[in-house]
Amino acid sequence: MAQAAAAPKKKVEGVPEKLHVWPYLVRLEFLCALVVIIALTVWSIVIDAPLEEAANPTKTPNPSKAPWYFLGLQDILVYFDPWFAGVVAPVLIIVGLMLIPYLDVNPKGNGYYTYHERKVAIWVYCFGFLVLWIALIIMGVFLRGPGWNLFMPWQYWDPHKVVALVSVDLPYSFGFRDYTWSAIFGGGVLLAYFGIGTGVYFFMERKALKSVGFLRMFLKIQLALIMMGIVIKIVLRIGFNVKYIMVTPWISI
């Protein structure tokens, strides 16, 4: 009875039927392997792997690009310092991914496709994967030219393209001219962002606090705020020419 109650609404098959792995699965795997190997062989016959001139430490190509699968991270370097874009962000991505099963306690949608039973989870993952990872990679591969400037596909990659450096730090545009006060102002803005974000989330989900647990909810909202914060920073930089939100002699964000 308990099992029947926990059973999902959407059933893929009426009655689960057990089949022999040999031949039903093994033949499928065999066919799949055959198709992949043929495709790989044809691809390898038709297109050669690139080999440029010999490595030369005195000749830096412009642009210098990381392997394509890291170009999303390289693109974030425009908006963040290397310690964040190159070190902290990848660590957060890996740790955040590992935490998914421990933070998402929604029992629904286990083992079948559903959007309606877990809308938020699907949206967050699709946004992170398709926009922040894949779209930035596509942009990095095709649209980033010399000086890591943005070029449309029909534009000539002009190495002498002049781009005005008009970005200013947020504290500066608010009139803070000395280090101490701009650090306090920037730190305050960040604290407010995380504090208010966390507070609002806990208030809205206060009923879930008991069942989900404080630590789980806290980590969940921090990771979500960091992910949203990256998007906010990109928007601030492109739309409002904001360079850093907080500036200190050690770290700037």
Binding site: A7, K10, K11, V12, E13, P16, E17, K18, L19, H20, V21, W22, L25, V26, C32, A33, V36, L40, S44, I47, D48, A49, P50, L51, E53, A54, A55, N56, P57, T60, S64, K65, A66, P67, Y69, F70, P82, W83, A85, G86, V87, I94, L97, M98, I100, P101, D104, N106, P107, G109, N110, G111, Y112, Y113, T114, A121, Y125, F129, W250, I251
Partner: protein
């Protein structure tokens, strides 16, 4: 004509056997009942339920599978086949990679010319190199798609949380395998892509010489997180050797061990997830 030629019963019978096709049954019987055959194949091939079970259970390569499975787990619309394809592509890179290792020396003076040699003089050298590189790139894509599918089907939910964590490690190691291999052609593309990538290690908080709080730790360009990775302050021959060892030995061993755990846990966690 009273003299009849003496009958040799053996020959007549033999010809009859060939004509009737009986001989093939006998040869087959002779072979399949030999010690050599019965010691190699533990069961018959006839399509009986017993043999279907033994086909999986008595085969070291196939016994990772369960003997029986739910029908839904066969649907490509559900699984996308991406995990299996990722593993197949990994095996392809292992085979082609070992072949490439016969011709390639990870030494600053030789590496690039070994690449040229491989491409222009070694029979099928170019094909092996192409297959290795494209399989590696394809593997990065398929492993992401596998992860995407597992997320969309909620397959990381209990009892499979731990296997998802192993999977995240495997995604990371797939990228690191590809990244360390990227340097080995020792051309401009390789050197500068890896320079851009490893420059990030320089910015590691506390441990990179340009990272925040580095001055309190006292790291220098020669002794920090980046120099540990590339064996110097520039991407040079020591980096080539380090990346070669990481690429050919260190990461494949760790990734292989994690793959064993990953596949084993699929079985232990109840097989491919499904709506049960």
């Amino acid at each position: 004509m009273a003299n009849k030629a003496p009958q040799i019963p053996g020959i007549a019978e033999f010809i009859h056997k060939i004509k009737s096709g009986e001989i093939f049954t006998e040869i087959a019987k002779e072979i399949t009942e030999s010690q050599l055959w019965t010691s190699t194949f533990r069961h018959g091939y006839a399509d009986t339920p017993r043999n279907r079970v033994l086909q999986i259970a008595s085969n070291v390569w196939l016994h990772l599978h369960p003997v029986k499975m739910h029908r839904h787990a066969l649907r490509i619309k559900f699984t996308w086949c991406m995990g299996g394809i990722t593993f197949l592509l990994f095996l392809s890179t292992v085979v082609t990679g070992v072949i490439l290792m016969f011709y390639y020396r990870p030494v600053g003076e030789y590496a690039y010319y070994d690449m040229k040699y491989l491409q222009y003089d070694v029979p099928f050298g170019m094909l092996m190199r192409n297959m290795h590189r494209w399989a590696a790139h394809a593997m990065v894509i398929t492993v992401w798609l596998h992860m995407f599918r597992v997320f969309l089907t909620g397959s990381y939910k209990p009892p499979r949380e731990f296997n998802w964590v192993i999977g995240v490690f495997l995604v990371t190691f797939t990228l690191l395998l590809s990244f360390t291999g990227y340097l080995l052609p020792w051309d401009q593309l390789a050197m500068w892509a890896v320079t851009v990538g490893t420059n990030m290690a320089r910015a590691t908080p506390f441990l990179g010489n340009e990272g925040p709080f580095a001055e309190y730790v006292g790291v220098t360009p020669r002794y920090d997180a980046r120099s540990l990775l590339i064996g110097g302050s520039l991407v040079g021959p020591p980096a080539l050797l380090r990346f070669y060892v990481l690429h050919c030995i260190f990461i494949p061993l760790i990734a292989g061990a994690l793959m064993i755990v990953h596949f084993w846990r699929i079985r232990k966690d109840g097989g491919i997830s499904g709506p049960l």
